[in-house]
Symmetry: C2
Subunit: 364 residues, 2 copies
């Protein structure tokens, strides 16, 4: 399995065109962002100075919140947001999806560092609904909703359902926190501004290295009481670095550059998912993407799909994915996110790659 | 007071020569470090990849430890080191100096996030001695020693006392952790390698933005069990960023560039302290520096010293300090760290500045 994976990655790295993403995460990504910055610009210092303060104000305005704080990571920003809401209500109960980032990717930091015990809402393979939220017990400080729900392919509730959940939480005194790691990516589908979406939430986190393609970094936005408390917790976590400007300046640069492209990424995802769904034994989740991302599920063993992909890459020079995750002995899956590279593809060769993939899998 | 401070800072910023430090923390500091890096270099990804792994190996070797992990901050690295030692011993007790960074600069992160209650050893205004350590109660997992003890001017115990403390701790099963935020700066005085000093400690943290003058970043070194556990806690704290290379590459660059200058910085500090001690009503702590740093104590009110300094800056173009901290109504102090700028000073003008400062204070 490890060998097979390495071989797929090698074959992928040798292709002329790679379909997902914004290109390799090389040092050039940072150099390009810094090229437009005057070297005499003074760096931020422990959360102060124009570089960090102006970006925080810009994002607070963009998200329609009174205040915002830049964090090195979303892991840090979100644990802190939930902790502050818990402290305000005097409880240790939060609610989120079973496949929430805090539950599966953070080594239980929320539990180990903050002693917070989450209530897992909904089944793993579907979105949280208003009905789930209505079933919450008393004493829950905050409900976290992730838009889109990444681990199930980037699905989104309807805006009406979101509004109904927000209204219910407001009535019940439950704070609503937005895991907006990919919020920018949802805007074309919702046809809303970020501020319109965030107005349903008491606090919101956004990331600058998903669709935006920066180096790292996150913003937590909310009321001033929340953001001021978050600065104290940021220091406690060890995130109040003397200088965060390498991340801030690159976040700002790629935010300006890629925010206008979210519509195009989304359309690319819809187009590409259609090509995947044309292959026997493959389907995408969602069937029609609602952001720039989706998951590809294949009802064949991972080694078989990998062998087929390697053949396709070799014959077409088109790299569809760098890795495949085994689901069980008869199924596998992988994630696709569309970025800058998609628009550079020769579409005829892309279509040929899918015809070949279909043939390869049919022949097995 | 706020106005006075701003005026001193303004006068300082207008001087032709500034005495302490390495120059302004501008974006150029990062650009210079990146200039020598090939843009095609692939960034680190969640703690993996050659950029982070090679620097970790290099620093582990330099510090004479089996393993090392790069952290965004020392705040994060040290809380985690103490937590791991506590978990290994099954206790929540650590010991450190009353002016330890964890006690006074981290918003009680160690207590709030890890539930660890420190025992404060020694008086505020002196170093921890072997006698203090002998008085520790049972059940202390780890003793943290800071070399040099920054908040009392950068003082150092003799190497013999350090050895005796280390031997005692080893006998008693107390782990010894080095807060080496300024470890590199101690090497000329001790006449030892970093590895020789670290061999007395079970774990060691070093920083790359004090004497080294990088952007931010820290290394935690120790046995592999410690460093592997520290990676899990790094993720929990939100410090396992997708990419830390902006800090790693600049840390490496300035480490190479400034490590050989520590001897010169140290000699500069000794020379400059002598000039300060020639001024009536001023003395330095230590009287003779043992690293590149010392504290200046003046037995005059802060506003009086500030007025004298502003006059000196205006007449000589020499900036001695950007700020003065009031101790009480009759005394004030500030910190000096010598870096690259000191060797560029016209020494005759520097001496003239001190003559003038003496006159100014005598005239008050």
């Amino acid at each position: 399995m490890a060998n097979e994976s390495r071989t797929l990655l090698e074959a992928y790295n040798q292709t002329e065109f790679q379909v997902p993403g914004n290109g390799k995460r090389t040092v050039q990504v940072l150099k390009e962002a810094l090229d437009r910055v005057d070297g005499e610009t003074v760096g931020d210092q422990y959360g102060t100075g124009p570089v960090i303060e102006s970006f925080q104000t810009k994002l607070a305005d963009y998200l329609g919140k009174p205040s915002a704080v830049f964090f090195p990571s979303g892991t840090m920003a979100q644990q802190i947001a939930l902790r502050i809401w818990c402290d305000r209500l005097g409880t240790k109960k939060v609610a989120y999806h079973p496949l929430c980032h805090l539950e599966i990717h953070e080594q239980d930091g929320l539990k180990e560092l903050h002693g917070i015990e989450p209530i897992l809402l909904a089944d793993k393979d579907r979105l949280i609904t208003l009905e789930d939220v209505r079933g919450l017990p008393d004493g829950v400080a905050v409900l976290l909703l992730e838009l889109p729900q990444r681990e199930i392919g980037g699905q989104l509730p309807s805006f009406e359902e979101l509004e109904a959940i927000a209204a219910y939480c407001r009535r019940k005194g439950i704070k609503l926190h937005l895991d907006g790691a990919r919020l920018f990516e949802t805007l074309p589908y919702y046809g809303k501004t970020a501020a319109e979406i965030c107005s349903l939430f008491d606090s919101a986190y956004v990331s600058f290295y998903k669709g935006i393609g920066g180096i790292a970094g996150a913003i937590l936005a909310g009321d001033t009481e929340l953001t001021e408390a978050s600065k104290i917790w940021k220091r406690r976590h060890g995130g109040d670095l003397i200088s965060l400007y390498p991340y801030i300046l690159s976040s700002d640069y790629y935010f300006e550059r890629r925010l206008p492209k979210m519509e195009s990424y989304y359309r690319g995802a819809v187009e590409l998912a259609e090509l995947y769904n044309g292959v026997d034994s493959i389907e995408t989740r969602p069937a029609v993407p609602v952001t720039n991302m989706f998951h590809v599920h294949a009802s064949v063993p991972a080694p078989m799909l990998e062998a087929a992909l390697i053949a396709v890459y070799g014959q077409t020079g088109i790299g569809l994915t760098a890795r495949v995750n085994s689901v069980n002995e008869e199924a596998c899956s992988f994630e696709i996110s569309i970025g800058d590279l998609y628009e550079t593809l020769p579409k005829d060769r892309l279509r040929r790659a899918f015809l070949l993939l279909n043939e390869q899998l049919a022949a097995k």
